[in-house]
């Protein structure tokens, strides 16, 4: 029977299965951070349980850490970071703490260390674990009880999800990035469209993307409601992985390549749902509302609730516009911004920073805008500095910070003030996400950079095109 990529990874990790019940799935790698783990370790202690496989677990500090140098002054954040340190020491779990040189956002460091490999199962107490699917792994977020479950057993009982393939044809136009691809996709299928599914992103347009681009797309699978998204591994994947610290070496590398090349969907494999998208028709995207599905092309305008017949839809748009402080029919390019955030597990890898720097080079941030760049990891930061990107940003008036989740979720000192409007390369524009009362517009790194310079949203294709 023909199989999908998902089928192959799923079936090779089923420990046991009973008819009518969930499968017991083996977890190859468990990523841990400070925010969703403390209660799980407490649960283990209360029940007198240990960590089954500390050698398949790894921890870092990302959500709470300040991105300016100095000690953590927030006592709650410090207690949570201290708890992670103590828990990792007690249970023998490797920890890349702040200052170790390998710290960073958990979904940036896994791939960069070579721990994320094709065909693996990966979980983490974080919904953006879907990022790792870019390597052909089955990777999904879990809650704290399931973190505890994996710590204790290295397994999770899971019902088998449905499968959806999103096939991208065409060639990405100039100035249209992977972020625009995924925002456009979410706009199309809706933020609940992927609930119950594992997505496979396929087609020539995906094959043409770098690993960074694929990670941006898989990262936001959860914003379409899907716990996981996957891309079949190929030569781009293998080139990225070769000679990373945790990648197989020598004969083991050759053997791994043989295994990994088999990880793909058969030509005639059946999916529960298929979606086709022509990327040639996509434009740079900007969200206007309070969820990632409330999105429009930069050439478009804020919608008018009176155009919608469905009362629930109309009410949701009215609520979103009231929160966002936007009038119906306003052109997106007329929306002025106060802040720019380039960072997060969606868009803080080296390629994202290069994309933004190319737009920024030789320009100045608008005098009304405060802009910052937060590399996804200490490694990304070093690499960017080796390439001189830090100077490009700083000379333009951007703040250049240390690695962390930063303003993606406002759990650290980097937050929006009430009413502030931000062009952000992160993944969620929910009410209050970046700070209570803050207004978030999701965009690509190039679009965020162009908005920083103009002081309002602009079509990056025109702002860059005008200079070249």
């Amino acid at each position: 029977m023909p199989k999908t990529l998902f089928d192959r990874v799923w079936e090779s990790h089923v420990v046991s299965e009973k008819a009518g019940g969930p499968a017991l799935l083996y977890v190859d790698l468990h990523l841990i951070h400070e925010v969703t783990s403390a209660q799980a370790f407490d649960g283990l202690r209360l029940a007198g349980r240990g960590v089954r496989r500390s050698d398949l677990s790894i921890a870092t500090m990302d959500h709470n850490v300040p991105t300016l140098p100095g000690r953590v002054t927030d006592p709650l954040a410090r207690a949570q970071l201290d708890a992670l340190r103590a828990n990792c020491a007690e249970f023998g779990i490797p920890l890349y703490a702040t200052g170790s040189g390998r710290e960073g956002i958990v979904h940036v460091i896994g791939p960069e260390l070579g721990l994320t490999q094709p065909g693996m199962t990966i979980v983490c107490g974080d919904s953006h674990t879907s990022t790792h699917g870019a390597f052909g792994a089955l990777a999904f977020g879990v809650g704290t009880s399931e973190v505890e479950h994996v710590l204790a057993t290295q397994c999770l009982p899971r019902p088998r999800p449905k499968t959806m393939r999103i096939r991208y044809s065409g060639e990405l136009p100039f100035g249209v990035t992977p972020k625009d691809v995924i925002l456009g996709t979410i706009g199309r299928i809706g933020i609940g469209g992927g609930v119950g599914y594992v997505l496979e992103y396929a087609g020539d347009a995906i094959g043409a993307l770098s690993m960074e681009g694929r990670m941006t797309i898989c990262n936001m699978s959860i914003e379409a409601g899907a716990r996981a998204g996957m891309v079949a591994p190929d030569d781009t994947t293998f080139a990225y992985l070769e000679s990373r610290p945790a990648s197989p070496k020598g004969a083991a590398w050759e053997a791994a390549l043989d295994r990994w090349r088999a990880l793909r969907s058969d030509e005639d494999a059946a999916f529960d749902r298929e979606v086709e998208i022509d990327v040639a028709e996509l434009e740079p995207q900007v969200t206007w509302g309070t969820n990632p599905g409330m999105v429009a092309p930069i050439g478009g305008a804020v919608p008018d609730p009176s155009d919608y017949d469905d009362p629930d839809e109309r009410a949701a748009i009215e609520r979103a516009l009231a929160y966002m402080g936007l009038e119906p029919n306003t052109l997106l390019r007329d929306v002025r911004i106060d802040r720019v955030f380039i960072g997060s597990c969606t868009n803080a890898r080296i390629e994202d920073l290069r994309e933004a720097a190319a737009v920024v080079e030789g320009q100045r941030v608008s005098s009304n805008v405060r802009a910052m760049v937060v590399p996804g990891s200490a490694t990304v930061k070093r690499q960017a500095e080796d390439e001189g990107l830090d100077r490009v940003f700083e000379q333009a008036g951007f703040e250049w910070r240390n690695a962390g989740c930063s303003m993606c979720l406002g759990m650290n000192p980097d937050i929006l003030a009430p009413g502030e409007r931000c062009a952000s390369t992160s993944n969620r524009n929910f009410e209050g996400r970046q700070g209570s009362g803050g207004r978030t517009h999701l965009v690509s790194p190039a679009m965020a950079a162009a908005a920083a310079i103009a002081g309002h949203f602009v079509d990056v294709r025109e702002s860059v095109g005008a200079r070249t």
Partner: protein
Amino acid sequence: MKAFRSLTARAVVLDRPDVDTDQIVPKQFLKRIERTGYGEFLFYDWRRDPEFELNRPGSKGARILVTGPNFGCGSSREHAAWALSDYGFEVIIAPSFGDIFFSNAVQCGLVPVTLPADEVKALMTAVGEGGAVTVDLEAKTISDPAGRVVPFEMDAFVRHSLLNGLDPIAQTMGREVEIAAFEARFPSPVETTSL
């Protein structure tokens, strides 16, 4: 985990789609390292509005929440389920749920009931301002204040776990022989301790 069989209690209607976990419990409360005490942070920003549904007199003491589709979308924070439970909710009824929220709810004994969208709308109308609803997990029915008895579906394993208040970790640990056999056959490709 507490076992759940049946509950008759006041319900409150929150007729909004896509209520995300950032609204259910905002990020600034995720720094605590305890599992309890999140009820006061539930819908923290929305509750500052005196007109918010949970602030109305008719919703006092409600233990059942009736809400719109895709409830609990967004982050994996189990704090959202903890906050709902700690506030006093035992059942959430919606046309659909965010995947991770659904799992988290079941893990802590908060009962997520899925009904077709039109049934949820009818239930919302019947509940009005604080009507009582009976959720019978054994019979898989919901009885509303208008006297209607609506059947619902639930995954058999999920229902069994909720009805019996099972500890899922203990269940998995009971399969040690199979887990050890799997590990012997398929060693994991990476080792985090040797980097």
